[in-house]
Structure formats: structure tokens, C-alpha cells
């Protein structure tokens, strides 16, 4: 899923400073699961903003709503009445959701309240880790199901760099595992270490022609 982090409250407050009535819009999918932009976070952010503005004697009215997926126009369409009723929208969705909102309501300024960070998974409660770089050229079958494109700090395709720390930790962070040591251990367990000897040629960055566009083919 897509992982995001709430922006610092001061940054959000600066963004919405000119407005007196806004819609705080959450998303019920990825950002709900990673505690950044679901119904609960919408309620908390809404009250934080109202309280702060109230203390300044510059009251703020917030409407609040969370749709299942803010990246789908049909679902965002449900918010039309609310959007018409406010001066601006504060979206807690990922960048895709923010843009869907902005595209649907072109006359309203839409502000992101989260920073979208990566595609990942929860490692333990409250901790999410990056797993996929959406490179358009998946070779997880050759690397024991561990992606060096994003889990190696340098995205190296042919093995670890010489900076690996003792115990197989990453050059840049002693808390993080070297992806290539993980790959080695996984392949060793599977009796497939020969894959570590396979030369991987330079990545084709045209695998996804940016901006990306995928046309489904009906089966």
C-alpha cells in the first residue's frame, strides 16, 4: 500500500491561513491503514486547526469527510456539495488522491496535509517499511522476493556495495539491513545461491514511460 506521513502542523496552518472555512478530506484506504489520513486523523487535524485558530481569535470552520478511495473520481464526486460550501480543501490522501480532488474541483485550491513517502508494508505496529519502487520491471523472482531497487540504499542490481557494515547492516544506517545480505541469506536458504552469480544488466528506465499510463487488456 501507499505510505504517507502527516505534514507538520505549522506547515498546514500556514497553507490554510487565508481561509475561514475548509473541507478536511480523508481517505479510507492506504493512509487510513498507515495512520496518516483516515477518519480518525481527519477528526484530530480538524480540531487541532480549529483550536489553534480559535486561540488566535481568527476562527476556522471545518467540514470533515472521508471517502473510501480519494484516488477515484466517482468517490470524490460524493463530496461535491461539501466542496461547494468551502473556500479550500485540505486533503489527507496520498498525492494521487490530492490530484483527483484538484482535478474534479478545479476552481478550489487543494492543499496536501500529508507527504506521500513510498509503497510499503507494516513491519510492526506503527512502523512501515518501503518495499516497492514501482519500476515497471519486476525481477523479484531472481532476488528471493527482496527488492534491491528500493531496499538497497543505492538501488544496486548486482550485489552489495563495499560499504556494508559488520553484521550485514547498511552503509547509511546501522539500523537497516543490507538488502543484498538479506537476498543472499534468503537464496541460501532456498538453495538458489547461483542467482547471486547472475549478471543483471543496466535497468531500462523506459519500462515505465513517465508519466505512467497502463491500459488494461481484457482477458
Amino acid at each position: 500500500m501507499i505510505i504517507a506521513e502527516r505534514k507538520p502542523i505549522e506547515e498546514i496552518r500556514r497553507a490554510i491561513a487565508p481561509y475561514r472555512k475548509i473541507l478536511v478530506a480523508g481517505c479510507g484506504t492506504c493512509v487510513t491503514v498507515c495512520w496518516a489520513g483516515g477518519e480518525k486523523e481527519v477528526a484530530i487535524l480538524g480540531s487541532q486547526l480549529r483550536l489553534a485558530r480559535g486561540a488566535e481569535g481568527n476562527g476556522l470552520v471545518t467540514l470533515e469527510a472521508t471517502v473510501d478511495r480519494q484516488c477515484e473520481k466517482e468517490m470524490v464526486e460524493e463530496l461535491r456539495d461539501k466542496v461547494n460550501d468551502v473556500e479550500a480543501v485540505l486533503s489527507l490522501a496520498c498525492g494521487s488522491g490530492v490530484q483527483t480532488m484538484a482535478e474534479l474541483f478545479e476552481d478550489k485550491p487543494v492543499f496536501p496535509a500529508v507527504n506521500t513517502t513510498f509503497i510499503g508494508m507494516p513491519e510492526k505496529e506503527g512502523l512501515w517499511v518501503e518495499m516497492c519502487g514501482a519500476c515497471g520491471d519486476c525481477f523479484l523472482d531472481r532476488t528471493g522476493g527482496i527488492c534491491p531497487v528500493v531496499r538497497c540504499a543505492k538501488g544496486l542490481l548486482n550485489g552489495p556495495c563495499g560499504g556494508t557494515r559488520r553484521g550485514g547492516k547498511c552503509e547509511i544506517d546501522a539500523e537497516k539491513d543490507c538488502a543484498w545480505v538479506l537476498i543472499y541469506r534468503r537464496l541460501e536458504k532456498q538453495g538458489r545461491l547461483d542467482l547471486m552469480r547472475e549478471y543483471r544488466s543496466p535497468k531500462n528506465y523506459r519500462a515505465v514511460k513517465r508519466p505512467g499510463r497502463v491500459q488494461a487488456v481484457k482477458a
Binding site: A153, G163, T164, R166, Y184, M196, R197, Y199, P202
Partner: protein, 297 residues
């Protein structure tokens, strides 16, 4: 004129190279001093490429200074700061100006340097870079287009004999050797046994690859601890840290030189590998003392 480095590698002589670290800024006087001091004492002068991800005068710039002064430059090229177009263009430029030894490296992460917010490139990795240089050597660019004027680089790379775990490193090294290199310059090594094991591994893949042990003198116990913590790929054993700690105040550099020279002598006497590469960054002017103490001049 110096003997071409590739010719030195072909002899049975113990090969010695030293590193020259470019300055931050356009003043090259210090680099010229180091070049003049060392060019006739070693077989090659190896120039770092934005070492430790700290922006500096370019490797290629210092390589040209070496060439102009009759020395034998080894151009260090990392994959961190250039995409495949820039790598190839710089290689063509280097070769056209007589710089024809290239050391292919991954490069340290941007995070360890002084421009931490920069976009790091790593369009290629070190194994792919070696393949790229071979492609240029054969008269084609990476996209398969013919070159008007081919190149003929002597290709080297690095390896880490002290890594833990070692096996994943060796598997990568195997790919580098199979891609085709004439020499391997190791990361700093302090244990002869580790170097022996490393050399044996490489010889089993290709007996013709020359191995130069990386010698990084440490001049104090605190520096050693700092390097262990902060310099990627460097692992200094406790016994050396203890030896440095016992050295009287003010004799750290002399002690570091003594330890380095002892290691070099041992490598040479036991013929553990084919030579050494001395990295005394920031103290290049003291390299001759190491050479002398090790009996190399």
C-alpha cells in the same frame, strides 16, 4: 615518462600505487606538490572521485595534472554522480587526453557526504560500469552505436577482504572479475589472513588479475574508532587500536606509518598479493616515509 600502469601490472615486480585526494576548491598547488613528490616513486597515482560523497575538484582534473607532469594516473570513477551518458562522455574525454586507467567503483552513498539532499544517480552499478568500459574498448557505446575513435582502458575495481558477512561481497566480486578487470585494489585491509583468503578467491576465478592491497595508515586510537564507525567498508582490528593507544603522545603518525610499513613488508615478503595501494588521504606528503620504511624505495 612513467611506465604505463598496465605494463607495470604485467611485470612480476611488486606494484605500488598511491592515492591523491583532490581539494575542495580550484587551487591545485597542493595536488601538484603531491604529484611531483610521488610520481617517480610509485607505479600509478590514483585520484578519488568526490570521495566520501564530498564535493571536490574532479578526479579527471587531477588525472590530467598527473599526465601533464609525466605521471601515470588511475582515474577513479564512481556511479553516484553520473548517469550512463555522463560516464561514457567522461571516459571518452579521459582517454582522449591520455588517461587510460580507470578504477570502476560503486561510490559511497550521498548520505555520508556534504550534499546530503542531492539526488544520487546509481544509473549503473560497478559491475555494469566494468561492462560499459569493455563496450567502449570494443568501439561501441552502451547503446551499440559505433564510436569514432575507440578507447583502450586498463580496467580495475575494488573488493572488501574484511567484510562481514564476506560471502555476498565475494559473489559480487566474482561478477566483477568475470566482467573482466586487470587489477583489484582492495579496501583498507589490516589482517594478512583476510588478504590471503581474498587473493585465493580471486585467483580461483582468474589467475591473471593483479591484486593491490589497500593500505590506510591509522594515526591514532580515536581516529581508528572514528573510521570503524564512519568510513564505509573499513574495519580496523582491536590489536591495532591498542597499539596506537600505547604510542606516546605526538608519535601517532610515526606509529601509523610503522604499522603500515610492517603490513606492506609482510605482504611483499610472503607474496600475499601483487602489490599495494597506499591511501594516506590528507597526509600524501608522508607517503614517501611509508615507502622507505617498507623498503620500497
Amino acid at each position: 615518462m612513467a611506465t604505463p600502469f598496465r605494463e607495470s601490472l604485467k611485470t612480476k615486480r611488486f606494484v605500488v600505487t598511491a592515492e591523491v585526494g583532490p581539494v575542495k576548491g580550484s587551487s591545485v598547488s597542493k595536488a601538484i606538490e603531491h604529484i611531483e613528490l610521488l610520481k617517480n616513486k610509485v607505479d600509478g597515482l590514483n585520484v578519488t572521485d568526490n570521495q566520501s560523497s564530498v564535493m571536490r575538484y574532479p578526479s579527471l582534473g587531477v588525472c590530467l595534472l598527473i599526465k601533464e607532469r609525466g605521471g601515470e594516473p588511475v582515474f577513479q570513477m564512481t556511479c553516484r554522480d553520473r548517469n550512463r551518458l555522463a560516464l561514457q562522455a567522461d571516459l571518452l574525454f579521459a582517454y582522449s587526453r591520455g588517461v587510460n586507467n580507470v578504477l570502476c567503483l560503486t561510490g559511497d552513498s550521498i548520505d555520508v557526504g556534504d550534499h546530503k539532499e542531492a539526488k544520487q544517480v546509481f544509473d549503473l552499478d560497478s559491475v555494469q560500469l566494468i561492462h560499459l568500459v569493455h563496450s567502449l574498448n570494443s568501439g561501441k557505446d552502451m547503446a551499440g552505436n559505433d564510436l569514432d575513435g575507440a578507447v583502450d582502458f586498463c580496467i580495475g575495481t575494488t573488493g572488501t577482504p574484511s567484510a562481514d558477512p564476506l560471502e555476498p561481497q565475494l559473489l559480487k566480486l566474482e561478477k566483477k572479475v568475470k566482467a573482466g578487470v586487470s587489477f583489484i585494489q582492495t579496501q583498507a585491509v589490516y589482517e594478512v589472513d583476510e588478504l590471503k583468503r581474498f587473493t585465493e578467491f580471486v585467483r580461483n576465478i582468474d589467475v591473471n588479475v593483479k591484486i593491490l592491497a589497500g593500505i590506510v595508515p591509522v594515526v591514532g586510537a580515536k581516529m581508528a574508532a572514528y573510521m570503524n564507525e564512519n568510513v564505509p567498508g573499513v574495519f580496523i582490528p582491536q590489536r591495532i587500536i591498542d597499539e596506537l593507544a600505547q604510542a606516546p603522545k605526538g608519535t601517532g603518525v610515526a606509529k601509523g606509518i610503522e604499522i603500515a610499513a610492517r603490513m606492506i613488508k609482510q605482504i611483499k615478503e610472503q607474496r600475499v598479493c601483487d602489490g599495494v595501494h597506499i591511501m594516506f588521504i590528507g597526509r600524501e606528503e608522508r607517503v614517501p616515509e611509508i615507502l622507505e620504511a617498507a623498503g620500497l624505495v
